[in-house]
Amino acid sequence: MTAAKQMQIIRLFCLILPIIILGYITLSTQHKQTSGKLWHVEITGYDPRDLLHGRYIRYQLNWSKYGKTPQAKEALCLISGATDTTTPIISTDQQNCTSIIKPGKNPENWNYRGRRYQIPEKYADALDDAFADSKNKFSVDLHVHNGHIYIGDLYMNGSKVKENYSNIQSRYNDQNSSKFEAQEFTAALKNLRPYVVTDTQVCVSYEIDWARHGLIYDLTTTTPDLCLTRQANGHMQAMPVSDDTQSCSARLNAGSWQSTWNYPFETFCRNNRHGQFLLDQYKQDPTAFTAQISTNANETLYVKDLMIHGVKFNDAFNTEIKKQ
């Protein structure tokens, strides 16, 4: 064989190498995904609420529903249920397992908490809402091949999600279409802390005192969405959203990272004479401060202004200047 011919063969090999390798990965994954033992396993969000980041759902397999899970570094032994062979039961008898799932090197196989399920961008918002809705049950098909997990279809309440994208979208988009009008309320404050930034700038950090608006909730549980109503005397009343029949003037979404209505530290800063006025007012009466908040159709909260004895900060400052 001539050197030129050898070079031709090397070139051809280099060119088809990516196709051969990726083709092998595709076919072997396809084989593993269809040949291994099929299980149907419920999933939950990795964090307490919806966990959609762009185009995937972040989830973990809810093994605790199927028995006592072993330590993270141990293998998971599954046996078939008596009635439904795809529903697993976790067994401690490692000798008679229908499937054994290896723990993985950095225990990241059966107990990996950050799994992602790719979903189409077009339906992402609707699936986001559906996943966050505790009434829905999500599950996945999974195949176990040589101790490894291969994820198959995603199910919502027993139906394949990929066959019901349109239904889920119309259902959750209809819900989303009932938006609330923008509203303004006056909120009580707590934990006011003034601090001097520079010689000329003064800031006050504070939290909204939801308890003074009737809201009592357990911080250690999932942050609820809020239903705000206006009482006859104009005061704001806050309560967790319970169901669709609840009559609210406005609603506040807890958000993916639970940092909208319950964001702990808001700040209000002013310079020069305004800053000095802010500090003086705090020294005189810290309880005089309230906040003018507004809600919008996206169910998020904004603090519009800080108020002193029910008067907007700038108006209070101007009144004080006139007095002097």
């Binding site: 090397i10 280099c14 990996y112 950050g114 077009k122």
Partner: protein, 384 residues
């Protein structure tokens, strides 16, 4: 100003004779039509592909995974065939363009396989697989700088993503992991620079060799400059990160500096000699930053940065890299300006402070440009 007018001006200034000017004009006239035509064909193809992408994107969820994968494999095969044809017909741009597209398609196919089969793969593993399967054909078929840069970007990204990941998986102590990471990552710029000095490599792939040289040197420049920021950290850091191996960074950087400087003495090419010496100084810059008992004085960060930036300019002169001299002067100016901001931080937060700072920056930049002009006039002679 049109080419015809420019040529007339250059002929008048006796930079060109009339025969040369006519030849240039003739050549460019021939090329203009082809260039415009190619440009319009490219535009038409872009519109078609854009439309196709929009049709696919809006119906992406409804297309079964097997169809998506089959179409992608067929597309990859078609582009691979285009590379082959480009090589057979000796069509430079067909080969180079198709190689670039094939490399990009390999990456999108890896991502698509992950999506279709819901594999919880990482960016690290995807980039590593891409590099492994794409490197052979990129090197065999790609001769242009475009391909060399694509490979280098892929290589550096993959190295950065995977090195830490691979070391993290080893069953060794944290100090050993940090030591191994430092040793391996310090190899990258030196290996790029040294391999670019190989005459065989230069003969085989001149554009790749040039890209290696530029990338290796750039990494030394970036490394040397960033080393100055170590002065802001505390020196106990070495004990925390490297434990009993706390002297390793010092030994490592001193070793690299000695090796590169020594190598520079044996090399005959003046360019490579200068680059080796510069790389040795960059290693000394790293060495100073990781000295175990250095004083903790933040101001030294500015001094270190300014000196190294000046060193860049100093080494750029024998290499006739005028632009690098300007960058060096600009870096010195901006670092001194940053030092001023560090000193007068609270003042910067005020309106008047910002105005004064802006004016100082303008004056400093004007001063820097003047110095740049003067230095170039003195060093290179004539117009800078």
């Amino acid at each position: 100003m049109g080419l015809k007018h420019k040529l007339k001006k250059w002929t008048k200034a006796e930079l060109l004779d009339s025969t040369q000017a006519e030849a240039i004009l003739k050549y460019e006239r021939q090329g203009i039509g082809t260039k415009y035509f190619r440009g319009l064909v490219g535009l038409a193809l872009l519109i078609i592909f854009g439309g196709l992408a929009m049709v696919i994107a809006s119906n992406w969820a409804e297309i079964p995974g097997s169809v998506k994968l089959t179409v992608h494999f067929l597309l990859n095969a078609a582009v691979a065939y285009a590379i082959w044809q480009g090589k057979l017909r000796d069509n430079y741009w067909l080969r180079e363009g198709a190689s670039f597209i094939f490399a990009a398609l390999n990456l999108t196919l890896i991502v698509l396989i992950g999506q279709v089969f819901q594999l919880n793969g990482t960016v690290e593993s995807a980039s590593l697989l891409w590099l492994l399967i794409s490197s052979p054909f990129l090197f065999i078929f790609g001769e242009s700088r475009m391909i060399a840069i694509l490979w280098l970007v892929g290589f550096l990204t993959t190295t950065a993503l995977n090195l830490e990941d691979l070391i993290a998986g080893l069953d060794i102590s944290m100090a050993e992991k940090n030591s191994l990471f430092l040793c391996l990552s310090s190899l990258v710029p030196s290996l790029l620079l040294l391999s670019a000095m190989s005459p065989h490599f230069k003969a085989l792939r001149p554009e790749w060799q040039h890209s290696y040289l530029v990338t290796g040197t750039s990494l030394f420049i970036i490394g040397g400059l960033f080393a100055s920021f170590a002065w802001y950290g505390d020196s106990d850091n070495l004990r925390r990160e490297f434990a009993e191996y706390y002297l390793l960074p010092t030994v490592l950087f001193a070793g690299w500096a000695a090796l590169l400087y020594g190598l520079g003495r044996f090399i005959t090419s003046s360019t490579y000699k200068t680059l080796c010496r510069f790389a040795a100084f960059a290693c000394i810059s790293g060495l100073i930053a990781v000295l175990p008992f250095r004083p903790e004085i933040d101001t030294f960060a500015t001094v270190h940065f300014v000196l190294f930036a000046a060193l860049i300019g100093y080494f750029a002169i024998p290499l006739s890299l005028h632009g690098l001299v300007t960058i060096s002067i600009l870096l010195v100016t901006l670092r001194l300006f940053a030092f001023y901001i560090e000193l007068t931080g609270p003042m910067f937060a005020m309106g008047i402070g910002m105005i004064v700072t802006g004016i100082i920056l303008l004056v400093a930049l004007r001063f820097a440009l003047k110095i740049d002009k003067k230095i170039k006039q003195k060093l290179f002679g004539g117009e800078a």
